[in-house]
Amino acid sequence: MNVENTKAQMRKGILELCILAILKNNESYPSEIIEELKKNKLIIVEGTLYPLLTRLKNADLLSYRWEESTSGPPRKYYALTSKGDQFLEELKMTWEELSGAVNHSLKSTKS
């Protein structure tokens, strides 16, 4: 079993949650989201983000608007829809349960 692979799988699972969380506070365009994710080492290659955004958008969890840029092509600014907001809340709860459970099991194995 490849440890890199497992890591990537784990990261990917929570990536949607993180994107929704980032967009909850303020609308952003992809490069900003990437910056944020990179800071937390949640993303290795940028390419990963685009299919994910498209999928979330197609699922009506996100919406976007175009904005002209001074230094390049026009940007897509993404924002959470109300459905996305609900979805985020649910994911958050699940994450808290999970992280609690995972942390707990990790600790109990340690001791």
Binding site: S31, V45, Y50, P51, N58, P74, R75, K76
Partner: protein, 505 residues
């Protein structure tokens, strides 16, 4: 100094160095291929292109106007390779069903033909890829099948019709059952690119005509293969037929036991004067017939397998020389044998005369009612009974001829004739013929065969029995008259003023 390519990425014009453009183009092509089965692929593609434009914009400034290959490499590093992000994504997003489907299409082999790497339609290439067998072996087997049964041709055509054509790199990978991911496609594309590069380098000066030439070459190759195949098949057929007729026992003459047929080869023993002449004759004949066949087969092989080599030229020159030598030998031998037939002599021998009004012709049963195989030449039928009996040749071509008698008696005579190199030789050969015919009162016994020494060879020795029939004379038959070669076709013998009815049927 580097050439630049200007291109539009997401609505912005960029100047890229040539190799930077090539790298980016490959990347985007790979991305497109990979996005094929992903929902919203156009949007994702546009987003990524937009991101590339953004990253490029960041690279350029007042002192830098061109995107270099290093820039492209860096952008690709930032974005990651498509297989790093899209494959996993697609699997997760499309759920169980899609996942299964993807896996199957990745591992299952598909039988397809690959005309780009094939000779005719790429069927053999397809089989080779599908079963992982060496291509040369598959082609060899097909050629063998063509030869042995002709079944190969049908099989090939059927496979040609049913097998889909492999068009894309992905198809070609599927043929081999290789997993289809961006990596393997890239490898394939890379290999193809290298091939093209090598080709164009070697023909740098003729680069312009490359595509046109390629196409005509392809057509020419396919045509060449078909012609080559036909040459091989035709020549092989010719050789087999020729050898069958000459060497095996499909000869036209039966041997003395009546069971076995004498082959033309054995028959040649009674034609040629000496072993040496026989050897020359056969060498000439075999060379004259077989050398062109061999040349056709070699030519066919060259066309079929597209062999290009220097030696073939010398082989053909050598074969041509041998061929002319063979023709020469055959001609000389033929003339020699022919000269043996240049003179003709016949010996008349009176058997006697019969005063009775009725002549009984007795033909002893030698061949039975079965007159054997009949050889038909120009509507004339000949019993094909030439046999070897000890040191003698036994021939069944005794002819009987009725002619009008000048008086009231039956007159019987035999004429033995032969050809020879000189009149003297012809005469002695005629003398050597032994034919048993005797007259006992009105009973004429005519044996249906004659003998002559095998050492005399076949020189057209012939025996004819003449029966002169008087007016009102009657012929009675005993035995099997069909064993004789009766030359009178009608039962009427023309006299100067009258005709006589003779029962010859």
């Amino acid at each position: 100094m580097n050439k630049t390519v200007s291109c539009n990425i997401s609505g912005i014009i960029f100047n890229l160095e040539e190799n930077a453009y090539a790298t980016l183009n490959t990347y985007l092509t790979n991305l497109r291929t990979h996005l094929r089965n992903v929902e919203g692929s156009d949007e994702i593609y546009a987003d990524i292109e937009s991101r590339i434009a953004e990253l490029f914009s960041g690279k350029l400034g007042v002192s830098k106007e061109v995107i270099t290959e290093a820039d492209v490499d860096e952008v690709i590093r930032i974005l990651g390779n498509p297989e790093e992000y899209i494959d996993e994504d697609a699997e997760e997003s499309e759920g169980q069903n899609k996942e299964k489907e993807t896996k199957r299409s990745e591992s299952a082999k598909v039988f397809m033909r690959d005309p780009d790497n094939g000779v005719i339609a790429g069927v053999c290439t397809g089989i080779s890829a599908y079963f992982g067998v060496d291509l040369t072996l598959v082609r060899g087997l097909f050629v063998l099948l063509f030869f042995l049964t002709g079944f190969g041709l049908g099989l090939y055509i059927v496979l040609w019709i049913i097998a889909p054509r492999a068009n894309s790199s992905a198809d070609k990978l599927r043929m081999r059952g290789k997993p289809i991911n961006i990596d393997s496609i890239k490898r394939e594309v890379h290999e193809a690119a290298e091939r093209v590069e090598r080709y164009s380098k070697s023909k740098a000066t003729r680069q312009k005509f490359e595509t046109v030439k390629d196409r005509t070459n392809r057509f020419g190759r396919a045509l060449g293969s078909i012609i080559g195949l036909f040459l091989i098949i035709g020549a092989a057929f010719g050789i087999i037929t020729f050898l069958t007729v000459t060497l095996t026992e499909v000869g036209i003459f039966s041997s003395d036991d009546g069971e076995r047929l004498i082959s033309l080869y054995e028959f040649s023993d009674v034609i040629f004067r000496s072993d040496f002449q026989s050897f020359l004759g056969w060498t000439g004949l075999l060379g004259t017939v077989l050398i062109p066949m061999i040349a056709f087969i070699i030519m066919g092989m060259i066309m079929l397998l597209h062999i290009r080599s220097q030696w073939s030229k010398y082989v053909f020159i050598l074969l041509t020389i041998f061929w002319f030598v063979s023709i020469g030998i055959l001609t000389v031998t033929g003339l020699q044998v022919g000269s043996e037939f240049s003179s003709y002599k016949e010996i008349d021998e009176s058997i006697g005369q019969v005063a009775s009004s009725k002549l009984v012709i007795n033909v002893p049963e030698v061949y039975g009612s079965d007159i054997g195989k009949v050889l038909e030449i120009d509507d004339e039928e000949f019993s094909n009974r030439i046999q070897m009996e000890d040191e003698n040749i036994k021939s069944g071509f005794v002819a009987l001829k009725f002619v009008p008698s000048e008086d009231s008696l039956f007159h019987i005579k035999t004429v033995k004739s032969s050809y020879g190199i000189t009149s003297k030789k012809a005469l002695s050969l005629s003398n050597n013929i032994i034919h048993d015919v005797h007259l006992d009162s009105n009973q004429l016994t005519v044996y249906p065969y004659y003998l002559f020494p095998a050492d005399d060879k076949l020189r057209g020795q012939h025996v004819q029995v003449y029966v002169a029939v008087p007016v009102g004379g009657e012929i009675d038959w005993k035995g099997n008259k069909k064993q004789l070669n009766i030359s009178n076709r009608s039962s009427k013998i023309e006299f100067e003023t009258r005709t006589v009815e003779v029962d010859i049927d």
